[in-house]
Symmetry: C2
Subunit: 203 residues, 2 copies
């Protein structure tokens, strides 16, 4: 299912290596104090190869979020929450996908992009890919149980609510202590209120 030949694994590996090198350089030196050349020397590839994977350094930095890891397990949606409604399913998907490490990385990316419009664009673009993925998953899962727009609206609402808060004053607020319980951070508390609002409706 996962379609991972050795060739594909290597492709993902180089992609990840390049993205990670780009991200580290961005943190160490600042976004516009290094060039593509620096990335490839750090990662051990050629400038031409970089161009095969990313169109610019901002794209590479943003992709260090590791979308690939979300996009692999299409069966995230297999397991159903108790009530098996689209909203609950999405809720579970969100809480599983935004792990502490992802949130940390996301926070760094948003902080980096605060003064870099282009990077910001690519970061939100990466999140939008995740949104599309979730959209496809959920509408396959529930098929024609709901009108087709329903899924768009719901997914759009959930992701639309996530982004603005994330890039404005939000902090995951977890120390380097990895043993912390996944569900007891600011993000999850915020998501509580998001889903509560979505269930209740707006006025």
């Amino acid at each position: 299912m996962t379609e991972s030949s050795l060739r594909d694994k290597k492709k993902l590996a180089t992609r990840k290596a390049l993205a990670e090198a780009a991200f580290e350089l961005a943190v160490e030196r600042g976004v516009d104090s290094f060039v593509v050349e620096d990335i490839v020397t750090k990662a051990g590839y050629s400038r031409r190869t970089f161009a095969n994977y990313f169109s610019c350094k901002e794209e590479a930095i943003a992709n260090s979020l590791g979308l690939d890891e979300y996009l692999q397990p299409v069966d995230q949606f297999e397991f159903s929450p108790k009530d098996h409604t689209p909203l609950s399913t999405i809720e579970v998907f969100i809480r599983r996908s935004f792990t502490i490490n992802k949130l940390k990385r996301l926070n760094q990316l948003i902080s980096l992009s605060r003064e870099h419009p282009t990077l910001r664009l690519y970061v939100t673009g990466a999140l939008k890919e995740m949104q599309d993925f979730a959209g496809r998953g959920i509408s396959e899962e529930y098929g024609s149980d709901y009108p087709p727009e329903y899924y768009h609206i719901l997914i759009g609402a959930v992701f639309g609510a996530i982004l603005p808060v994330l890039d404005e004053s939000f902090d995951v607020n977890l120390p380097d202590d990895e043993e912390q319980i996944e569900n007891s951070n600011e993000f999850n508390q915020y998501m509580d209120t998001v889903f509560a609002h979505l269930r209740k409706g707006f006025s």
Copy 2:
């Protein structure tokens, strides 16, 4: 209020001229069959001036949507719908902002960006600016009547619901007949269901 000295007007004019030239070239020749040089000769400016306004041709094309026109009248929010709730206010704002002409242009842009990831990024970026603008407006309007996240969630939901449909199979479906009633197009019908869902809540 509108802060438009003659100098500012000229700035907006050149900006608009450049963006419009870029858009027309994109439609005529296709997005990657022309260069910045072509844009500036068409618009009558220098390459260096182009760089003062846009960072790349995609940004120029996307900005032909004419965000500026949204961003001017901050008092869009002044007038209140009957029930004066955030949702209704946003609804009115949306319906007023997405005029037929805007929707047509948006459709063309989305169609152009279908095969051009970079352009797509800038188009969604432009819409996100509009979203931020709406967010600022609405939270100024209602202040602390609602918890601060409420506005983010609501605006995020509305705009989040708009984007996916717009770039997937959506067509404004209005001929060149400008006299058509603004409220009787597919977009407005879709927005009807969006707001209905948001009022009702999700399950």
